[in-house]
Symmetry: D2
């Protein structure tokens, strides 16, 4: 068993052969998931903060949940990851996995960014906007939702491309099959821009950079307990009860 | 070869073993597709009206297109259909295939309708709204788009459930895998309501009725020519050019 | 003192020289307001149903509120009314006052309606949509909000024109000064359409009809008690608390 | 006559007693307007770039327009300005006039900002978002529109407060009378944030800062030629033609 204590970031990871126990909020889970997903270890997320979309077990139920899991063949839910690579002048400058989303956005005082979107190498549209979000189903209830995107059920095998404050009124979120490669080309611009991964990793982006995203070959495995996805939607988003 | 002339509805169908030639607008294609899809015959849609999403060949190119198709092994694009059944008191009262969408909506002078949405029998939310749209990827650029829904690429294996003018501000379009069964229960209400299929077939709906939709076992096969889906999006929706 | 009992519609009105006491929900207040507003009598709305935007006093506080009002010079809030006239072939076919909104909408099985919007006789836009809402600030939190419109504070001297599911993606709610005359011309169409006033009065609309709306010369006077407009917004719309 | 050449920013200003001639795009007009508005000089904006909302005269018509204006009593359109002051620990740290908007936004790699909105000192809501826009009617067709705000006709005596990507789904643009004082309090946060004025002036904002906006006592006077506001809307936003 491996115990990792990351005190500086107030994260505690307990990585074992059987499961990874993540204590924290959705943010903690996102960074933990990126770190351990490739090991194939299922994750149990215990919520120390306010209700999260991903961290469903409250601290008070941690021990009973661990006991229930121990020795049983608990169901896990597979969540897709985006494999994101940033290219500059043909060279790879950054590579990250995202459980929620990859976002290119302008800095606060910059003006509009200019993007081309390509799907499997085919030009889709040019967009002037504050930014563009490429989100997984897991991330569809995070930043993409705030930018006007739809909710994707976790079992949906698609990603969603959601422009942030597009200059043209006709742009709409675009749902793309997860078999496709999604590419963003950052147009000629003097503006400051950043790529962020799950709202956590920030990489400066320069004009002419290409971001390429496709479905990662591995997934994040979340241990499922009693709550369904829709329970969480109703509680978090206040979707109507009967 | 079978030639069907439906003069009353100003539609001309020419159904052959090799292909079905549909002359008209998107509306004509929708009704033709529902009629011939189960035969597995590919459809070539020739546009007699304004530019449609589905009817891509202009009349002036009909003969050259037909000659190009003849004898060749042209690519066809498979479009999913919704198999929609309306139940009342346990009895089936209507059954239709939809290429675009199934919509339950209130009449003009009625007040809000009340719906429960269930996915694979699991309760998702209750919604008070003017109506609810269940759309295929093909239909995602039609009424669902006007109601605030996302665009689904034709290759996406999902449907989208889009509420129309929901009373609660938290409802959002929901993208659902096409392996699921989507069910709408019309709540207790004295209001007049209708089920419409592709905006064409109207069936009165009564309180307590259930609408069940799942992916049909057959598809609509559209003969593909030069234009891509994204060309049409850019032309119809004025999505940005580079 | 005049007591009016409208048992068929489950409304009880108690109209006195000093004030009109309306017992019911927002719907009851809307019809009462249209009926008594021209008398200049202030209205106290007591809420018998679920929390309303307009009916702020709960039944349990009715007597203490009436006692507090009696003899005092209570503040009233003036709410603008729309004076709406429907013309056909140059003839007036209907005239109504609206506290919330005037809406022209298609019937459930009709296709898109076609409208021209004119402000003070100047052509603004043509719109194909399910309908168009012309709302007062009071009505901005009702149907217009569900259709994507903004919230107008009660003190705003404007109306808002909100298309319902417009076919073109570029249409947006338009805020118009209440000094202007707003005119809707229903385009050539075989479709069934209705004008509704505050969601209550339904008038059939034919192609070529003109709806003209301007601010009525009288207002609705609501007796104000402790709750502010923003308290109600936070409670009803779940706008964030500090 | 005063001729001001600002070569560094590629702006040319020609300020005379009779009128200020601004040559450039909307951005040039915005900075010129803030600079000369308090002089009460009417502005004629000649468009050197792509079609703007504000710069309606094309270069080819500059001389004929100037001749037509000379000696005539041309109509001018008054546009409201926001008088914006940023306070820190009770001290004024910046004061600017805005013709379009005042925006507080997070930097690209920051997380959500936390705001309180107050109208005339009364708490309206708390909002977690990428930013908040306070826009004039002139600015309602700029950034606020991209963030989902309504269009305000120039004659509307209101401002609009539009959250940018609010975390809660229930927030909506709020139209506020221009007689009110609008106040934003930036909540406790370690995040980087900036105040920008008309997308041009950037002022760092710290937690606890207050931004106060009210209608300026002077206006911007735009010389009106033939084009109406709605002509521009139809051309720029592609609002429907008849």
């Amino acid at each position: 068993m491996l115990v990792a204590l990351d005190l500086q970031h107030r994260k505690v990871w307990l990585v074992a052969a059987q499961l990874a126990l993540v204590l924290g909020g959705d943010g903690t889970l996102l960074s933990a998931a990126r770190a351990v997903a490739h090991e194939g270890v299922p994750i149990l997320a215990v919520n120390l903060g306010s209700l999260g979309f991903l961290t469903e077990v409250p601290l008070s139920e941690m021990y009973t949940t661990l006991e229930a899991i121990d020795g049983c063949d608990c169901p896990t839910e597979q969540r897709a990851l985006l494999d994101c690579t940033l290219f500059r002048n043909g060279n790879k400058v950054a590579q990250h996995f995202a459980l929620n989303d990859a976002v290119i956005s302008k800095s606060a005082i910059a003006r509009l960014l200019d993007f081309d979107l390509l799907i499997d190498g085919v030009f889709v549209f040019n967009c002037k906007a504050d930014g563009v979000i490429i989100a997984t189903p897991t991330g569809s209830t995070a930043y993409s939702l705030a930018a006007g995107g739809p909710v994707l059920m976790p079992s949906v095998t698609s990603f969603v491309v959601t422009p942030v404050c597009p200059h043209s009124l006709t742009h709409r979120p675009l749902v793309v099959t997860d078999k496709a490669t999604i590419e963003l080309k950052v147009g000629t611009s003097d503006e400051e821009a950043y790529l962020s991964i799950d709202g956590q990793v920030g990489v400066p982006v320069k004009q002419g950079d290409h971001l390429t995203c496709h479905r990662a070959s591995h997934t994040v495995k979340l241990l499922r307990t009693k709550k369904t996805f829709f329970n969480v939607l109703r509680t978090k988003l206040k979707w109507g009860q009967r």
